[in-house]
């Protein structure tokens, strides 16, 4: 039965009706525009004008057919075009009309961007420029303070370097002597006003110059070439800070002419050396710099200069310290008591020292011991207060089992509960309040296990509260409340027992610790207490 299909799926476009994103500018709450048709199939069928709300494709289509009823309002290039593009865009990319050329609007776009019109859709390789920067956007970091030095950098104001002109004998060390005689004022803010102005300057028009065409080695030329060029004059010689700072600012500035301006300044500072007459010291300095650092970089020579100065200071310090005898007491990683040193070393001076040290140690020890005796007395008083509150259990626990072999004192067992009432009353009435020690070993017989009376007494003394024991009813004849009560009572008992046990345990432990401390000092180490 040849049935003609209503719709041939392969030649048709399928759209789904979906809710429109509420951030879409075309969104409104009316049923007409809170939904949008989105194409879901990938057939090579062109349906650019079907269900088109805005004109298709890309935003800056200027050649819109304003005449079409599907075209946007003249100013409406809304984002729904983008949303729609992402779905439809793919289809327009895949759309190829019969001749195999790209759609006209796409071609026009490509041509506008400067790509050749060779039938290849270059737009698939392009993306819209949004404000995400792509790694090259400028991020204004409020914490960046360019005028503050980083903490690991030290800058000194060497503007008052006094290089005396009259001294005739120049030798290798003259640099160091010069450096040591200067007052080095440590600087925190190293900022040149012109550079500050450059950085703060948000108007970059000064930097933009399209005609600028620098040679490849413009920096070198700038350094070696013209002297005294530039606007600034009469600067102080702030070597370190300027060059460091220029380094930093060179990194920041990313335009050629920015570099050139800074290069100008670099030239200036170097050019200013020339007006001062060149002395032997200058030559020596240059030779030294070359020798040590071997390159012509600006930052290097200043850092080298600073490092040398610090070296010299370090040496000076060392010499000062050498006056002391600390070196004689070098231990060489071997523990030596002063007495050993006394016997080991030969020099009389160190012998005196060590003897003196030993004497002083003895004095201190005496003082310390004297002091501690007083404290000990106080401690003893405190503990005696507590001891008045001992009860018999804790007293017994202070005895170690070396001396004392107590029997385990037990609570009355379950089986005894029936007769407990009788025994309690019996014990109360029969016994006096004193525990009697009987037998050869003088033990409190009543309280040992297997003694009914003892357990009753013990229970009373320990202070545990035994709730009134009802005669236990037959199984199944207990009411719910009674059952609950009974169970609750049992639980309480058990929790109390647990607490007591824990307290006992802690007490035992602390006592053994104390005993151990004592034993550590006095007793032989063979005896272990814990």
């Amino acid at each position: 039965m040849g049935k003609k299909k209503f719709i041939d799926k392969k030649k048709s476009a399928t759209f789904q009706l979906l809710a429109r994103d509420s951030s879409d500018p075309n969104y409104s709450d009316s049923p007409g525009s809170d939904r949008v048709f989105v194409r879901v199939d990938n057939n090579p069928v062109s349906f650019d004008t079907v269900f088109d709300e805005d004109n298709n494709c890309y935003n800056d289509c200027q050649y819109d057919n304003e005449d079409s009823i599907f075209a946007d309002a003249p100013n409406d290039n809304g984002d729904s075009g983008d949303d729609y593009d992402r779905v439809l865009g793919s289809s327009s990319r895949m759309v190829v009309n019969d001749k195999g050329a790209l759609p006209e609007n796409v071609r026009k776009e490509i041509l506008e961007l400067g790509f050749p019109d060779d039938g290849y859709n270059y737009l698939i390789h392009l993306r819209e420029i949004r404000n995400t920067g792509g790694g090259s956007a400028f991020y204004h970091n409020p914490k960046f303070k360019p005028d503050q030095l980083p903490h690991d950098v030290k800058a000194y104001d060497a503007s008052r370097v006094q290089i005396s002109n009259s001294k005739g004998n120049y030798n290798e060390k003259s640099i160091y002597s010069v450096a040591s005689n200067t007052l080095n004022a440590r600087m925190n803010k190293v900022f040149d006003p012109e550079v500050a102005a450059l950085l703060d300057d948000s108007d970059l028009s000064r930097f933009g110059s399209d005609i600028e065409d620098l040679e490849e080695d413009f920096i070198v030329r700038a350094n070696t070439g013209e002297e005294g060029e530039g606007d600034e004059s009469g600067k102080k010689l702030n070597f370190v800070e300027e060059f460091e700072f220029i380094d930093a600012s060179v990194k920041n500035a990313d335009t050629k002419s920015g570099n050139q301006e800074i290069a100008n300044e670099v030239r200036n500072y170097q050019g200013e050396e020339k007006p001062r007459s060149r002395r032997l010291l200058d030559e020596q300095f240059d030779i030294l710099e070359l020798k040590e650092y071997g390159s012509d970089d600006d930052d290097d020579d200043c850092e080298g200069y600073m490092a040398e100065e610090e070296e010299f200071l370090a040496d000076k310090l060392k010499n000062v310290l050498n006056e002391n005898d600390m070196d004689d007491l070098e231990h060489d990683d071997v523990y030596k008591a002063p007495a050993d040193l006394l016997h080991g070393s030969k020099s009389p001076k160190s012998k005196e020292l060590t003897a003196d040290i030993m004497r002083r140690c003895a004095e201190y020890a005496e003082n310390y011991e004297n002091e501690s005796e007083d404290e000990k007395v106080m401690v003893v008083q405190e503990s005696s207060d507590e001891s008045e509150q001992f009860d018999c259990e804790s007293i017994i626990s202070t005895y170690s089992t070396l001396d004392n072999h107590p029997g385990k004192i037990e609570a009355p067992g379950v089986t005894r509960k029936k007769k407990l009432a009788e025994t309690v009353s019996g014990a109360l009435s029969a016994k006096s309040q004193v525990i009697s020690l009987r037998g050869k070993e003088k033990l409190p017989l009543d309280f040992l296990p297997n003694s009914r009376k003892a357990t009753a007494e013990k229970v009373k003394i320990a202070g545990s509260i035994i709730p009134e024991q009802h005669k236990r009813k037959q199984h199944g004849q207990e009411t719910k409340e009674e059952k609950k009560e009974r169970k609750l009572a049992v639980k309480k008992e058990r929790s109390e027992a647990r607490k007591m046990k824990k307290a006992m345990k802690e007490l035992y432990r602390s006592e053994t610790q104390q005993a151990q401390k004592v034993a550590a000092i006095s007793g032989p180490s063979a005896i272990r207490l814990m």
Partner: protein, 121 residues
């Protein structure tokens, strides 16, 4: 009825937007009540616009079943069956796309999925 193929727009080119096409609206849903309501609304709207409509074709509903062992009880007869029913309706129209847009923009119930297929003829 043949018409000239649609070309992407060129400036100054007047496109025939009155073209009548075959349009199939497919409605899917899990609950019948909403689906039937949407269906009837669409057909009413279409008829109000005097479009040729082919009434709701009811595709047999698909029942997706999952059977599992019930957590309670032992034995053979302790199973749970969960099912999901999918109902599908088709509505065919002969009209222009913009009219269809108006028609479909009128009502919607939650849970009803609408798909529109247009034949390029």
């Amino acid at each position: 009825m043949t018409y000239a193929p649609m070309k992407p727009t060129k400036p100054g080119y007047e496109e025939p937007h009155e073209q009548i096409r075959k349009i199939r609206i497919t409605l899917c849903s899990k609950n019948v009540k909403n689906l039937e309501k949407v269906c009837s609304d669409l057909i009413q709207a279409a008829k109000a616009k005097a479009i040729r409509v082919k009434g709701p074709v009811r595709i047999p509903t698909k029942v997706l079943r999952i059977t599992r062992k019930a957590p309670c009880g032992e034995g053979t007869n302790t199973w749970d069956i969960y099912e999901l029913r999918i109902h599908k309706r088709l509505i065919d129209l002969y009209s222009t796309p913009d009219v269809v847009k108006q028609v479909t923009s009128i009502t919607m119930e939650p849970g009803v999925q609408v798909e529109v297929t247009i034949v390029d003829v």
